[in-house]
Symmetry: C2
Amino acid sequence: MKESTEFEPMDGETFEVRETSLREKLLDAQFDHAEIKTEALLILLNGPDGSGKGEVLIRLHEWLDSRTVSTLTYDINDTDESRRPGGWRYWRDLPRRGRIGIVLGSWYHEMILLRATGEIDRSTFLTALERSHRAEAMLAAEGVRVLKIWLDLSSDKASERFRNKRRGPGSARQPLVVEWSEINTKKERKRLIEAAHEVIESTGPGDTPWHSVPASDPRARDLEVGRLVLTALQSAAAVRTKRRGKPPAVPRRITRGPSALAALDLSQSIDRDTYKTRLHNAQAKLYRLTRKKAFAKRGLMLVFEGNDAAGKGGAIRRLRSALDPMQSEVYPIAAPSDSALARPYLWRFWRRIPDRGRIAIFDRSWYGRVLVERVEGFAARAEWLRAYQEINDFEHQLNGSGYIVQKFWLAIDQDEQLARFEAREQVPHKRFKITDDDWRNRRKWPLYAAAVEDMIVRTSTAAAPWTLVEANDKRFARVKVIETLIARLEAEL
Amino acid sequence: MKESTEFEPMDGETFEVRETSLREKLLDAQFDHAEIKTEALLILLNGPDGSGKGEVLIRLHEWLDSRTVSTLTYDINDTDESRRPGGWRYWRDLPRRGRIGIVLGSWYHEMILLRATGEIDRSTFLTALERSHRAEAMLAAEGVRVLKIWLDLSSDKASERFRNKRRGPGSARQPLVVEWSEINTKKERKRLIEAAHEVIESTGPGDTPWHSVPASDPRARDLEVGRLVLTALQSAAAVRTKRRGKPPAVPRRITRGPSALAALDLSQSIDRDTYKTRLHNAQAKLYRLTRKKAFAKRGLMLVFEGNDAAGKGGAIRRLRSALDPMQSEVYPIAAPSDSALARPYLWRFWRRIPDRGRIAIFDRSWYGRVLVERVEGFAARAEWLRAYQEINDFEHQLNGSGYIVQKFWLAIDQDEQLARFEAREQVPHKRFKITDDDWRNRRKWPLYAAAVEDMIVRTSTAAAPWTLVEANDKRFARVKVIETLIARLEAEL
């Protein structure tokens, strides 16, 4: 039975001639890509079992220089992975600029599978699809080119080839990629292809489109995949490197509405005795909450941001001393390392998502992009503008997989900051030293204030609310932080 | 019943005075340590259950600035860890210079436990001890200061305190560290302390000595631990940073004996037809071997070193195309990154140990230290001199936990290299370009030759042999590599 889309299979000689030429070009393009390092390339290799994912994979490894290629395969039963949000494994293994990752069993696997088995309805399916598109738009903007390939074969033909191969002696050097072991009936196989086709057709040409590669003729299939990879590598190498942003001269909010910071009553304070009692009680209560059984199935990510000298360190110390040190970790966030710069902005934060039942405390955080990077021009305007949505998506995913995200902005006024700076200059301890940078930041107070206001408006979500903490009085701030967290945990657990 | 070593417990006021002073000093010392970044500090916190490991841990987290402190605890049932060599988890979590790691359940845990339960005899125990000492000597030389603390308490007293605490209401904020749950009888508890004392007394003062801290009085215990940490931080910050080595001017072997390289018959070659057949057969055979059940319980680490232009890349490609791409990974090893430089030399190779049943191919390797780093002076003489032993230990550990380590040196002569350099300069492809570095290395041929001879003598072990591959004829080299590996696998599986 011949399909209408099928032509005469390609003969060996034609293949060899074309292969030789393609291969040279591929190696050259890969070399440029690895040298210029403007983008990473992720190749998603998808298709029904029997369409030749394993064969194509081997072919690509034969053609490409293996030193900058990794294969990313995932065992859905891996506990380390399954305890974290769905995207975690891909973030963990994300290749850096100049490298190539070939993904078997991509983030489309689950939605296609569940749709084929009928476990999710159409609207859930479309929501998942929409989320993937958003993630890919972010990757594209952040220097990861995604090449999405579907090896197209009718369900009958695919399962026939799959059965033959499993039996055949030729399988000696052809590792079988069994991706859809849960698909057993003819009806499910058909629905799998249908769901896949819906996925394939869902992205407009403006996004990263799917490439449907006819898979009935293995030689033509491999050459077509190779050609797609070549084009992707060449386009990636042709991308201009990002320019640094221009720091804004005048503070300008991008959101409207009243000032959240101005509404704060910074005069609030607590006397020493009340402080001692409330802090002690709150610490004990917090500890008990984090030892609850319900907590062990969740995870907690705490964000601390604030003006310089607002007392983040002190608040974190009071908070942390209420926690089991074996259960919690503090991450001070400084300028990104080289390997972080070679990947999308959120990469280093994805890598710090704690295991279930554990607590990660961020002393400064992923909000750096819309604060210091915006104000100092370390990020281009387009970068920090889209960061709000990226951050919301990130926190939404955390929330969706059971993590509790709580964010604190510690606010002091300019007078209080000046007093603290001056007091610190009197202290002999080097560790309190005020640097030139601190004074420079202080002169940019209005710029930072505008950035903070925008951040609060754009990223206060039900899933991950901001708590503004009046911090002119350190005792008040420390108690408010812990008591706010307690209320949140009580509501969540 | 009072022990003879016990004094009056410290009163609260005395403690507070001393604590305040100690804490200031600790924070200052920690700040310097974090700024100067000469060493990492690993604090091993050991003792019988009930001696207060959890309390001391909390105390240290209270006293120190949590931003540069991590707690390293290990679940012995973690599959990801238990599939790899014993030291892997510590290498994975090793703090970088300027940071502090507090280890609960250190590498001494297992040997003490097995000795207490009588599962290992004295000589096995001593061998394990000796291995730890060697590892620590390496860490010390490579910028990791290890502070070993044993909280000393008689077995009766410890188990009494442990029982009380487990029951008591005061445990609300005192996480219990249960390290020795396998120890149940009084006899075992006693043997545990005996084994521990043998460990404690086994290191001479020249090494990193153990500190036995009396644990019966919690306040005095905590202050003493704090004092030890303070001294360690201060000493670490006082260490001078390493100077770069001086590149040798004259080739000088450090080993004696005939030249292994001179003994090679580089004229060996294979004609094209024989090559095709033998390569094809060897590839098929290799594939089958790596699919064997016995292989799934092992792991394979392949090292490729060789003269510039000796054909490592081509040999690796022929080898890899015989393997399942999902099962194998190629690691090109270039100059170390910043985060690798902040840790002991072998760190980045430990992190690349493959999971069971998998294959890691190193295109250049940990031998860089005794080759390029020796010749170019990137490593000091003392560093590359001790690297031979460190490398042997590393490979010995790999071998001991079931990994197969196979190393290839691809040798060509100077004429062949010149011919290949010149041929490459004719090729239009940028990826074959010969750089100034290549020509410079070529002029240092005798220096590299001496380094290679030493490397072969010093690191050819039964566990991890070197195979010298005559590579003037590329076909001969490629076949020899795969056939050698086949022979090795057949012997091992």
